[in-house]
């Protein structure tokens, strides 16, 4: 299974695509980091792949 992640450019916290997609726009989960992370921060190819295979990232 392909695992897609995104790193916060500010603090380096790594966030899995399923988490980004759940929220679309979210504050970085690192306490004290004010960076806003978006599902759109993933490349277009990554977004497309994730949405096409959405089911396998749910539990």
């Amino acid at each position: 299974m392909r695992i897609i992640t995104h790193s916060c450019p500010e603090c380096g916290t790594v966030v899995a695509a399923n988490e980004l997609e759940d929220n679309r726009v979210m504050k970085c989960p690192r306490e004290g980091c004010q960076e806003v992370l978006r599902f759109d921060d993933l490349t277009e190819e990554e977004q497309e792949f994730f949405l096409d295979n959405r089911d396998q990232y749910q539990i």
Binding site: M1, I3, T5, G12, T13, V14, P29, R30, Y57, I59
Partner: protein, 357 residues
């Protein structure tokens, strides 16, 4: 070598203790379980640690560990979100480990001798992965490894009817970055998770050699209340006596007692180690605190007989009854019903509690 510390999971088998926090923060000998893992990694020379977080306890775990500087390590957080299996958690750490070898440590597991030997035994030039094994008397209940004389793994079998050995996998691993390509090709198992044993099996099938290391000291998965008590017992067994707090004249203390600086054992109290007593705890006259008990911060013990018990903290125990083999959650009050009519026990018990009355 980097470290990946898996700290997700719901802690459902530790309810009600885990209703209010993640299982990795339950204290063993007055220290959260996850701190033992950080210290083991540090002792093995692993100072760059990725902590994988699930849904539960994200804030609490970050609050405790911070950026790792208080432990002399550097922590990066990795948010897995949905619990899609241990191999998924490992896969989320790909960017973090950045093509180096890495050790995977389950954040609710404890190992007496840490992971140094496992790391030493593994050499990346030769192996795709290294696994920790322990001899068990009931291998049919575990994932079991078939190994040759050199400790090289031939195959893995999950809960076999006819076990090829008594060597069970205990959830500590070292991987080369080759594991990431293998994880990418994995399919979820019947329970919808990417399984770490499938990843190792697939490394084997792809021609990688897998090293193994048999762990001789104790290993404990702290998933259930009785495991917490057992881990507490094992850690206290190895503890040294250290009386930094106040012991009043007329208090009786024997054995390995660890008394924090602002804790007090009052006259007329009896404490028999191994026992750990945290800051701002008072053991009052008429109380007996017996072997394998840990009492968390800001707790008052007035009158009971306590043995083999973990009190998380901020509690008052003022009954004069006997409390044994118990796990008492934060801010729980255990008072006396003596003199109250009609006679009987009075309880406010949280969801999923267990009582033996």
């Amino acid at each position: 070598m980097r470290g990946v510390l898996l700290s997700g999971g719901t802690g459902s088998r530790l309810r009600p203790i885990t209703h209010t926090g993640p299982k990795q923060l339950v204290p063993v000998a007055n220290k959260p379980v996850i701190e033992y893992a950080i210290e083991d990694l540090k002792a093995a020379g692993v100072t760059e640690i990725g902590v994988v977080l699930g849904h539960k306890g994200r804030e609490e775990i970050q609050e405790l560990l911070g950026d790792g500087s208080k432990y002399g390590v550097d922590i990066t957080y990795i948010v897995q979100g949905n619990p899609l299996g241990l191999a998924h958690a490992v896969g989320c750490a790909r960017e973090f480990v950045d093509d180096s070898d890495f050790v995977v440590y389950l954040g609710d597991n404890m190992l007496r001798h840490g992971v140094s030997d496992l790391i030493e035994s593994f050499q990346s030039d030769e192996y795709g992965a290294g696994i920790a094994l322990q001899e068990v008397s009931n291998p049919e209940a575990f994932g079991v490894a078939d190994v040759d004389d050199q400790g090289t793994v031939k195959r893995l079998v999950e809960k076999p009817d006819d076990p090829p050995s008594n060597l069970a996998l205990i959830g500590m691993y070292v991987f080369s970055p080759a594991v990431f390509d293998v994880i990418e090709d994995l399919e979820p198992s019947w329970r919808g998770e990417l399984e770490i044993t499938d990843a190792i099996q697939s490394l084997l099938e792809n021609g990688y050699e897998i090293d193994s290391h048999v762990v001789t000291g104790w290993w404990k998965d702290t998933g259930k209340p009785e495991d917490i008590l057992e881990a507490n017992r094992l850690v206290l067994e190895d503890a040294e006596r250290s009386l930094r707090g106040t012991v009043e004249d007329g208090a009786e203390i024997r054995g390995k007692v660890q008394l924090a600086k602002s804790a007090t054992i009052e006259s007329g109290a009896v404490v028999r180690g191994p026992v750990s007593i945290a800051d701002d705890v008072t053991i009052e006259d008429g109380s007996y605190v017996g072997p394998y008990t840990s009492i968390g911060e800001n707790t008052r013990i007035a009158g009971p007989h306590i043995e083999n018990t973990v009190i998380v903290g901020e509690s008052e125990v003022t009954t004069n009854g006997r409390i044994i083999d118990s796990l008492i959650g934060r801010a729980a009050q255990v008072e006396s019903a003596e003199g109250m009519l009609p006679e009987g026990r009075r309880m406010v018990v949280g969801e999923n509690s267990q009582l033996h009355l």
